[in-house]
């Protein structure tokens, strides 16, 4: 009874709250008013239902996540036990290989986009997920990569293969350039400075016509070549698809190794407690810089591929919104979790493409899910689980004594 009353009140409150924006639409030119009373009903019913769900989730959250954590979940088994991991990986690989031959070119294109976001997500995951540095201007490094290929190709005719490492290097260079002054800053200030930096890069690209051709961008960027051979347009798409698959595999490989290395551990430690970290002899700046630069390297690299894929780029592709999308991939996937980030990238990028009606609401849902995730499941879809180490050798040595 109490719940019902509360839900009705919440529903009424939201009807009030959304009334002017959802119900009324004025056309100031024609002097007409459009009244959309249906929306009011939607809001009323919707928030009424949502309030129940909210209460249920809140109660569940408060009852404690302790039990949940101790359970060994399917994904953990899948990624750690060789028995399952190898066949699963093989299956995915086969599907990935066949995929472009059984779908339309359009589908391949969207899949490439999704793969690009997978790599971007994994790259940002190093910075945000592992090292705990909230970078809101990640897209700037992506832009650096894309423009470096576009410009070098336009002015000097440099090939894709020459630009791929150059883009990565330039990404890293900019990462270090920005990182040195700003990494001393506290978490939330760092977020704002990186955001500012991202916007500065975009605004410069938009306004410095002599350098970047302004808002109209650069067109006719060459397709990649295959051992010096020109590839046809459709062949080019196929080629980029396989290239992306290779890059995703390479990225997973690298991130996975980094995660369980001396460096990776120091990133996680830094995220957990900076002061204790320093007391362990870890150089805070150097370690942060490594994470920042490495994340930027990946963004630069994917930027080059993005430019090659679309053969046209302009500053509009590198807005703050793009950074926010990449960030939400990392957040929704589960900070620090490779599998989670991959899943989130697929869900967030492919779903809107598949459900056209849904795509209008895409950003709305992104925003809402970022809030809801933080409130109800801050660890993301798939929580990152630290690796366990085994000591067969040690125990046996013990017994022998």
């Amino acid at each position: 009874m109490k719940n019902l009353k509360q839900s009705i009140l919440i529903s009424l409150w939201f009807i009030f709250l959304t009334f002017p924006l959802m119900v009324i639409r004025v056309n100031t030119v024609e002097q007409e008013v459009e009244w959309r009373w249906m929306n009011m009903a939607f809001i009323g019913v919707g928030t009424f239902v949502c309030s129940y769900i909210w209460r249920y989730l809140m109660a569940r959250k408060e009852k404690g996540g302790n039990e949940e954590e101790s359970k060994i979940s399917w994904h953990q088994t899948l990624t750690t036990e060789k028995k399952y991991a190898i066949p699963a990986a093989a299956l995915i690989l086969v599907i990935a290989f066949i995929f472009p031959h059984i779908v339309t070119e359009y589908r391949i294109n969207t899949m490439i986009s999704a793969l690009i976001y997978v790599v971007l997500g994994l790259g940002l995951n190093i910075v945000v997920g592992l090292a705990g540095l909230l970078d809101l201007g990640y897209v700037a490094f992506y832009a650096v990569g894309a423009y470096s290929y576009a410009l070098l190709n336009h002015h000097f005719g440099l090939s894709f293969w020459a630009c791929l490492p150059l883009g990565a290097l330039l990404g890293a260079f900019f990462g270090i350039l920005l990182g040195i002054p700003v990494l001393r800053l506290r978490g939330d200030y760092l977020a704002i400075v990186t955001l500012g930096f991202g916007e500065i890069i975009r605004l410069i690209l938009e306004n410095w016509n002599e350098f970047s051709f302004g808002p109209s961008g650069i067109a006719n960027i060459s397709n990649p070549t295959f051992f010096g051979q020109e590839i046809s347009r459709s062949g080019g798409i196929l080629f980029i698809y396989y290239l992306m698959i290779a890059l995703v595999i390479f990225t997973i490989f690298v991130v996975n190794r980094l995660q369980n290395s001396r460096l990776g551990r120091s990133w996680v430690a830094l995220r957990e407690d900076e002061i204790a970290c320093q007391a362990m002899g870890i150089d805070r700046m150097k370690t942060k810089l490594a994470a920042f630069a490495l994340g930027a390297t990946w963004a630069g690299m994917v930027g080059v591929i993005f430019a090659a894929k679309t053969s046209f780029i302009n500053p509009a592709s590198f807005t703050f919104l793009e950074s926010a999308i990449i960030l939400s991939i990392v957040v929704l996937g589960g900070m620090g979790s490779i599998l989670g980030v991959i899943l989130a990238a697929f869900v967030l990028i492919l779903l809107p493409e598949e459900l056209r009606a849904f795509s209008e609401y895409r950003m709305l849902i992104f925003g809402a899910s970022m809030v809801l995730m933080m409130v109800f499941r801050p660890q993301g879809i798939i929580a990152n689980v630290r690796r366990s180490y085994e000591y067969h050798g040690l125990d046996r040595a013990e017994e022998a004594k």
């Binding site: 709250l17 002017p20 700003v182 800053l185 939330d188 605004l203 926010a324 992104f366 801050p378």
Partner: protein
């Protein structure tokens, strides 16, 4: 010299608007140490609400100051309500969470609200009626300082004075300061801190709405995206002055307003936003505590 004055007054107007928004950032940051990313969106929603109300009233045959006053009041009420609701949904459940969680939640809320307005209304720029009347006594100065600019500066100044009084001398204001300085102690003194936080959000939001209505009327058009840039700039101003400090927010806003005004006037108008962002980056790097802020030492 006249050009200089024009830029100076232009900067003053700009700075006044920034100040109205920056106060919301600074008050919220002062009390819960959160950059309320969605604050710019409140400003935008305030402007949209005012536009709708003003249009309805105009169509109903009303005009003059009454339209301005009524739409301003409705915008303030709605902005306050949005501020209150946002805090309850996106920040209150995260009081105990690690620092980055509410920040991410705030970014999510900002994206959500932008797209909510985009879908509920339109993605186009909407013309905004100029609600502020032209005063006849301003006519001789119209070429350097318009009536609406005068109104902006005066309204901002009055808002500042009211806010300062509120915070310095009322019991509520003292409780706000107490909660900002030591939340646990405020609770122990019997202050309902959650209510104080809600109040802070409401006050900040109403100021943003005032800013939104004034600037929309001055510039003459709005869209769903105006909150983002204005929000970032106002945040820059708050940081510039020293986040958490109310006089700092005003001072920072004026400095930013003049910087932008003079830089676009004497250097180049293409890079208006670049100046603001560069200023932000430079301040955070060289003086993160801002002009009037104090650095805190971390406890070990």
């Amino acid at each position: 010299m006249e050009y200089f004055f024009e830029l100076f007054l232009g900067g003053l107007t700009r700075g006044s608007i920034y100040a109205l928004i920056a106060l919301g950032y600074t008050m919220v940051y002062g009390i819960i140490e959160l950059i309320n990313f969605a604050h710019g969106e409140i400003y935008m929603i305030g402007a949209f609400t005012a536009l709708i109300v003003a249009s309805l009233l105009t169509m109903a045959g009303m005009d003059g100051m009454a339209v301005l006053a009524l739409s301003m009041v409705v915008a303030i009420i709605y902005a306050g309500a949005y501020g209150f609701t946002i805090e309850k949904i996106a920040y209150k459940p995260l009081r105990q969470a690690p620092r980055l969680s509410p920040l991410i939640s705030a970014i999510g809320m900002s994206i959500f609200l932008q797209n909510y307005v985009l879908l509920a209304q339109t993605s186009d720029f909407l013309p905004f009626p100029s609600l502020i009347p032209e005063f006849s006594f301003m006519e001789p100065y119209e070429h350097v300082f318009s009536s609406s600019e005068l109104v902006i500066v005066v309204v901002t100044a009055v808002s500042m004075l009211v806010l300062t009084y509120l915070i310095k001398f009322t019991k509520m204001g003292k409780a706000m300061r107490a909660s900002a300085q030591d939340r646990t102690m405020a609770m122990l003194a019997g202050i309902n801190v959650n209510r104080i936080i809600s109040t802070t959000f409401i006050i900040g939001s109403t100021l943003a709405a005032v800013g939104g209505v004034l600037i929309a009327s001055h510039i003459g058009q709005i869209n769903f995206y105006i909150g983002f840039i204005a929000g970032i700039k106002a945040f820059t101003a708050a940081v510039l002055g020293g986040i958490g400090s109310i006089p700092g927010a005003v001072l920072g806003s004026l400095v930013l307003g003049w910087t932008e005004s003079f830089a676009t006037g004497y250097v180049s108008s293409d890079y208006e936003d670049v100046f603001a962002f560069t200023l932000l980056v430079l301040i955070l790097i060289f003086r993160p505590a801002g002009i009037l802020g104090k650095t805190k030492t971390q406890k070990v």
